[in-house]
Symmetry: C2
Subunit: 223 residues, 2 copies
DNA sequence: CGAAACAATCAACCGTGCATGCTTTTTTCC
DNA sequence: GGAAAAAAGCATGCACGGTTGATTGTTTCG
């Protein structure tokens, strides 16, 4: 469902940029160019931030001319609007990839899920998202797009966390605790921005997963 | 100690901007102008972000000319370097102010401390800091300054949280849990950037303060 | 051949640091 | 103590570099 929505938005953006009625690039090389530009846009965001990700910088990164970029995305705004949609796809792929190797159950599972969630939030994709997130506060056209992305990723992250943790949200407090876990992961992503925070982070992940496990699976009162 | 350090840095910045050997502005009106500029810089950061906080925008906000700003801060970099130091002072004043009305002890206390920490991280000062934090990743001159500020505020926040919570850090896991609480508060600050997140937040604060209380004050095994 | 895709160039605008000018306050000199 | 000079503080304007969207030119594909 989310993947389908993303593709529809992507096609709409393609229509806008070419002014045509067809469904995106016609040539394979054009599709490849477009992909390269979008990937470069996200990479530049992560490395250079919003202000540093000028169209020229993105083009240099993608190895294409400004004219080529302009063919696909008439304005900087359109470029990053498409990049937002691209980011949603990349995010989902990233989480799916990481979820593959989770242990079966118990405290090891809880630890691994927390570790994974934190890893997602300390990676380059979150970094790019963070830059967009912060920049969107003063970019009216971008704001709505980014707010929608944030909302969607947030809901999806929550859904996946509940699923991976096998958490029962009908138990009072579980829902909020899972949410707190994600907010903490975001905070850790922030803390990793200017310097490597991994040592401190490891201790926090270990402890949080213990606390989380205790909340999700309280000791049996009958035992 | 931190206040003294802040003042020394402030004086050093003043020396730099005037090229003199004296200790900052000589006239009261000059001190007032400087203060206005710095306050405006922080307010603009919170509202417009880094890219939007041009010297012209800050001056308009402060109600001074660009020449006046330039007298105090020769470059944009110097302006925001001083703003960083100013931010540290404002942050401390803010926390002190909020700490005044904390209840005495128990779960109410824990809740109030968590609520306060989260409130600090969802206010305009944190918002300004966040913009600086993110922008600093691609501003070499600013990076070091902001990293130092982040480090200092982080340590101070931790120290105060431990103090206000009357937490015993020799108990295994308490230190990490307090740190995680702060990281969670930062994540909640982030979540409040593009839209009002207060409803979700209230639930998380309530629930987490319960969990935190249970961690800090586990049930007496002898009872 | 025309459309699509890409490349290169242009003009307008903005932000910055620098320079010059004006006003207010402090210091120096008699 | 008062006038003049100097310093401090503030105001205005300029030149430059970078970014952007628009425009024109070239290459590739169907």
């Amino acid at each position: 469902m989310d993947v389908v929505t993303g593709a529809a938005e992507d096609a709409a953006a393609a229509n806008r940029s070419t002014g045509g009625t067809d469904r995106g690039p016609k040539q394979d090389r054009s599709r490849a160019t477009r992909q390269r530009i979008l990937s470069a846009a996200l990479a530049c965001l992560a490395e250079h931030g919003w202000a540093g990700s000028t169209v020229a910088v993105v083009c240099a990164r993608a190895g294409v001319s400004r004219g080529a970029a302009q063919h696909h995305f008439g304005t900087r705004e359109e470029l990053f609007t498409a990049a937002v949609a691209h980011m949603a796809e990349e995010w989902q792929a990233s989480v799916r990839e990481r979820a593959r190797a989770l242990p079966g159950r118990g405290r090891d599972r809880t630890y691994a899920v927390v570790d994974m969630l934190v890893a997602v939030h300390t990676g380059p994709l979150f970094r790019a998202a963070l830059h967009l997130w912060v920049a969107a506060t003063d970019e009216p056209e971008l704001r709505e797009r980014v707010a929608a992305l944030e909302s969607r990723i947030g809901r999806e992250a929550h859904r996946l966390a509940v699923e991976f943790l096998a958490a029962d949200e009908s138990v009072p407090g579980v829902r909020e605790t899972v949410q707190a876990t994600l907010d903490m992961a975001r905070g850790l992503g922030l803390a990793n921005l200017l310097s490597d925070d991994s040592a401190r982070r490891a201790g926090i992940v270990r402890q949080w997963s213990r606390t989380l496990d205790a909340v999700l699976r309280p000791p049996d009162p009958a035992a």
